[in-house]
Each structure stands twice: as structure tokens, then as C-alpha cells.
Amino acid sequence: MTAQSVLAWGAFFLYTAATFAAFGYLFSKDARASRAMLALLGVGLALHVLSFVAHVAAFWVYPENRFFLPLTSFFGALSYMSLALAAAFFIVEGQNRLGILGAFVLPWAAGALGAAVIFANPDAAPLAQPLRSYWLNFHPMLLMTAYAAFANAFGVGVALLIQESQIKSRKPTELCYRLPSLDELDALNGKIVAWSYPVLVAGLVMGFVWAYIDWGRVWTSDPKMILALVTAAIYGAFLWMRYGAGRRGRRTVYVSLWGFASVLITFFGAELFSGRHVFMGGPR
């Protein structure tokens, strides 16, 4: 096993342990669980960064791969998204009292990295000729960063729905008093999407530019492109509802959850039926 694999497995175990600690904190009142979650996550992040650096180094062993980011294999892509999500949670929620949301966000970070270490092949391979372009460092990287942020927003949205149904039930449990308030969750959900949306759009625009440069046209009606635009449209609708029409609550949150479903379909589904975007070119 290579160093990057060992490090990635280590990070995966620490994220999993942090996820359990996050659930422990959600259902008990024990502040030690919260501290354990942050400590495990912090060490996991450190290992993960080292693993990613090792992965980049292994990728650049091939001279033709320099200096592109290794985001075209499942391993690289999932590892990067997991890293972005875990880091975003650590910085945005972990450092204040929103740490309780770990139970809703960290499973995605642990799951993505787990999928990478268990199912994906971490070995580096030379990039296919058309992918040797600096656009590669921007177009997928920006999209994956946005996807990681949307996973975070999804977790917040689920917490919001639970909190809303707790209060509607008129029989709130202890959980209701432990979760952040509806207003806070709603504001956080809206803010994360609002900040990530420009990143998503920038990633898409760069994709179009790259397509124009390489293929001579912007639009190729590739399934992945269609799905990515659907994702952008759903989140656009959410932002319009939330900030344009001044609507909040359950129904707007549903729209943001559909947005994340669309992200998953775009990312994984397109592998099944996309032509040009079966670009997860590395060995599987």
C-alpha cells in the first residue's frame, strides 16, 4: 500500500470516528463528544491533506501530467470533495456552536472518502491527451468545490426539516432544544447556497469556454452538461425563492434538497450515460 493510501485510510477512519462522535453529541448532552469530534476531524484533515499532496506527487511522476490537478479519477475527485467538505465544516460550523450539525454533514465527508479508498483505484495514470489543459485545474475543481458546499447545505437542510417537524409536532424532544434554531438553520442553508452558487456558475462557464476552445462549440448536449445545468437551475430557483420572493421554510428547503439530489445524479449518473464526460479517465 502506498503512503497516500495509508494516509487516506487513516483520514477515513478518523472521519468515521468523528461522525460517530457527532452522533454521540447529538443524542447525549456530553460536551466531551463535541470536543472529540473536532479533535478527530482535525487530525483526519491533516492526514487527508498529506494524502492529497502524496496523490498529487504520484500523479506528477508522469511528466505529461504536470502541473494538472488529479481530479479526473474517481479517487482524486471523491478525495478532493471529501477534503473540501470536511475543511468547510471544520471552519464554518466546527469553530462555533453549530458543531452539533456534524451529525448531518460529516457522514458525507466520511462516505465520499470511504467510497474513494474502498472502491476507487488510487493509482495514477497519464492523462488522456485532450485533458492536458490548464482548464482542468479550474473547471472540475470549481464544480467539485461547489458540490462539497452543497453537501454541507444538504446536511443543514435536513437538520432544518427535522427541527421544523419537531416544533410542528407540539411534542418537541430534547433534540429540538439542542439543534440550532429554525432561523439560524434557515440563514445558514441560504448563505451556504448563496456563496457556492457563483462558484458553480464559474465552474460551468469555464467548462463552456474549454468546450469552445477544444471542440469549437459551447454546447454539445452531453448528458452531464444537461444535468449540470439542471442542478444550476434548481439552486437558482431556490435562491430566487429564498432571497427574491422572500419565501422560507419547508418548501424552499425541499428545493435545495432536490438541488443536491441533482448534484449526485450529475456526478455519478453521468458516468453511466455520458459520452464526452466519461472523463474519469484514470484506471478504475
Partner: protein, 350 residues
């Protein structure tokens, strides 16, 4: 360590003895004990209990009979018969249980912790505490906090108004900057207003069919009085609405709430109906972002909180037991010359 504890609590003694003891200033009790050669003593006097903790000089137990006689003298009544007398470990355990609110009428109530602190500070100021009682009382306050934070004995509000405020906080977070509308100006309305203001609500409006009464109540809480006809408008602005009018039929109809909702930009609306018969139409609870709680909903939450506190008593007693044994071991180690360390070992949880 030789420690004696005398208690007259709501659990055992009739109020006559407690009243007689409560009328004696704590400072006087301490001064008298000092004059009679008691080395260390702390007295705790509240409306539910009177307690005296005394430690003699090393190796010399304070005589409970002498203390009882002295207190009877000061109180001007025979209080000895109703006293519970405890010594050493049992006394430590009792103090820790008292500080944890396990001996209180309302389990886990936090006022007693402050009262223990006050009692200790008075004794300290009077020069009546030495190493043993200093450590004992600091330890008692630590155990009181620990039992409350690590078990559910102090969890959940136990009154209808405070449950309502806690629920408002689960919707809005902090109440600063939020506004409340009170419909009706009776005793219940006043109580609700008092709680909201105490928890820092930003703005308060009162609407009542009789303008004068709305004005009087609003003025008392630096709020704003609204004419009855204008309440639907005020409802569109408010975040929390508490209704307790004497109206025979619902005054807050679904139509009024729907119209208000359209103008609220998605802000949540928390409606509390404590009137009988009902003031607010039940169907508004189905509207997105509108939460209606009725008096019986709040009461059943109170009942649930009470029972979960009762369930947590055993866990809190275990903490008290363990910490009392720890303290006892420390106190015994003083005589051997090899003093055990007695740190507040774990950091108190955030």
C-alpha cells in the same frame, strides 16, 4: 474530619421551627458560634430550609447537642426536636445533594446553588471558615454544577411561560430584536409579558378591547399599546403572539393569519393561545412557517420535563455519592499528613 450538620428542611420540619430560625440573622448565629469557640461554621438560611454546618478543631467533634441548644436559644423556640442531625460523610453527602437541588421542592432548581454560595461567603467574611469548610463548600458548588450539567435534573423548563419562551428560542434563536404582541390584558397576559421582557424580547405591543387596559399593561413593560381594530396589522409585524382574551369565539382567524403571512417575507410566526375558550383558530397551525401552541400543549411539555427530571435523580445521586466519598477520603488524609490531591479534575463542560 469532624463535621456536624443540622438541617431543618421543608421535607421534615414544620414551618414553625423554620420560621423561628429564619428570623435569626445568619451573622448573629455565626458570631455566637465564634464566641462559644466553634472553629468553623457555615449557616444556610432560605425560605425552605435552615442548615448549619460546623467543624470543630482537628480531632474534636463539634457537639450537636450544644449547637442545637444554642440555636433554640437564638430562635427563641424549641427547634431541637425537628432537626435532622448528620455527621461526617453523611453530612457531606447531604450538602452535596442540597447544592445539586436534589433536596429542593422543585428538583434541580438552581436558586439553591446561589444560596449555598451566599451562606458560604457570609461565613467566610465572618472569619468562620478554615481549610476544611472552604474546600467543602467550594466542592459543594462544583458538585452542584456538575450534577446539573451532566444529568437532566435541571433540564427543561417547569412553568408554562418559560416553556413558551424556550420554544420561541428554538424558532428564533435569540429573542433580542424580535417583537411580541400580547392580545388581552389580564393576569396571564401580564405574566407572559414579564417573561418575554425578562428574556430580552426586542419590542412588545399590547392590544385589548379596552384601550386603557392595553395602555396600562404596555406602559408597565415599556411597550406599545395598539387599538383592538389594529391588531391584525400588529400581528403581521410580530414574531411571537400570545393571546389570552376573554372572547367567546376565536379572534385570530385563519384569514387574518394568512393575510399576515403573505406580508412577512417568510418569517416564522409563533402563536400561543392560553385562552379558554380558544382565541386562535386551530387550522392556522397547518400554514407553512406558522406554529400554534395551546395551553395544554405547553402544560404537557411541563409535565414531561418534570418526569424526566425525576428520572435523572438516580444519576445525579451517583455523582453526589462519588464526590462525597472523594471528599471524605481527602478529609481523612489530612490527619495522616499525606494530603490527597482534590482537584476539580474534569474541566466543566462548555
Amino acid at each position: 474530619m469532624k463535621l456536624a450538620a443540622l438541617s431543618w428542611s421543608h421535607k421534615v420540619s414544620a414551618s414553625a421551627a423554620r420560621e423561628a430560625l429564619a428570623s435569626v440573622p445568619v451573622e448573629k448565629v455565626l458570631a455566637e458560634l465564634k464566641a462559644r469557640g466553634v472553629a468553623e461554621a457555615v449557616a444556610l438560611s432560605t425560605c425552605n430550609r435552615f442548615e448549619l454546618y460546623a467543624a470543630g478543631r482537628p480531632g474534636e467533634a463539634p457537639d450537636a447537642a450544644v449547637l442545637l441548644e444554642l440555636l433554640s436559644e437564638l430562635a427563641g423556640a424549641a427547634v431541637a426536636d425537628e432537626a435532622e442531625v448528620r455527621a461526617d460523610l453523611e453530612a457531606v453527602r447531604h450538602l452535596f445533594a442540597v447544592a445539586s437541588g436534589l433536596d429542593s421542592l422543585v428538583i434541580g432548581e438552581s436558586e439553591i446553588l446561589g444560596q449555598v454560595k451566599t451562606g458560604y461567603e457570609l461565613a467566610k467574611a465572618a472569619g468562620m471558615t478554615g481549610k476544611r469548610l472552604n474546600v467543602l463548600f467550594q466542592r459543594a458548588m462544583y458538585v452542584g454544577k456538575k450534577a446539573r450539567s451532566e444529568t437532566a435534573i435541571a433540564a427543561g423548563s417547569l412553568s408554562v411561560p418559560s416553556v413558551a419562551v424556550s420554544l420561541a428560542q428554538t424558532i428564533f434563536g435569540r429573542l433580542e430584536g424580535k417583537s411580541a404582541l400580547i392580545l388581552g390584558a389580564g393576569a396571564m397576559a401580564e405574566l407572559a409579558a414579564k417573561h418575554l421582557v425578562a428574556r430580552g424580547i426586542g419590542r412588545l405591543s399590547v392590544a385589548n378591547r379596552t384601550w386603557e387596559r392595553a395602555y396600562t399593561l404596555a406602559a408597565r413593560f415599556h411597550g406599545e399599546a395598539v387599538t383592538w381594530e389594529a391588531f391584525p396589522e400588529a400581528l403581521a409585524q410580530a414574531d411571537v403572539v400570545i393571546s389570552s382574551t376573554g372572547a367567546p369565539t376565536a379572534v385570530v382567524t385563519r384569514a387574518i393569519v394568512e393575510a399576515a403571512s403573505k406580508r412577512r417575507g417568510g418569517r416564522s410566526l409563533f402563536l400561543i393561545d392560553i385562552a379558554m375558550p380558544r382565541d386562535i383558530e386551530e387550522s392556522v397551525h397547518k400554514l407553512d412557517g406558522v406554529f400554534l401552541y395551546r395551553l395544554e400543549d405547553l402544560e404537557s411539555i411541563v409535565a414531561k420535563n418534570m418526569s424526566s427530571r425525576a428520572e435523572a435523580v438516580a444519576a445525579a445521586r451517583a455523582i453526589v455519592e462519588a464526590k462525597a466519598a472523594e471528599f471524605d477520603a481527602w478529609a481523612k488524609s489530612l490527619a495522616t499528613g499525606r494530603e490527597l490531591s482534590l482537584k476539580h479534575s474534569e474541566k466543566p463542560p462548555r
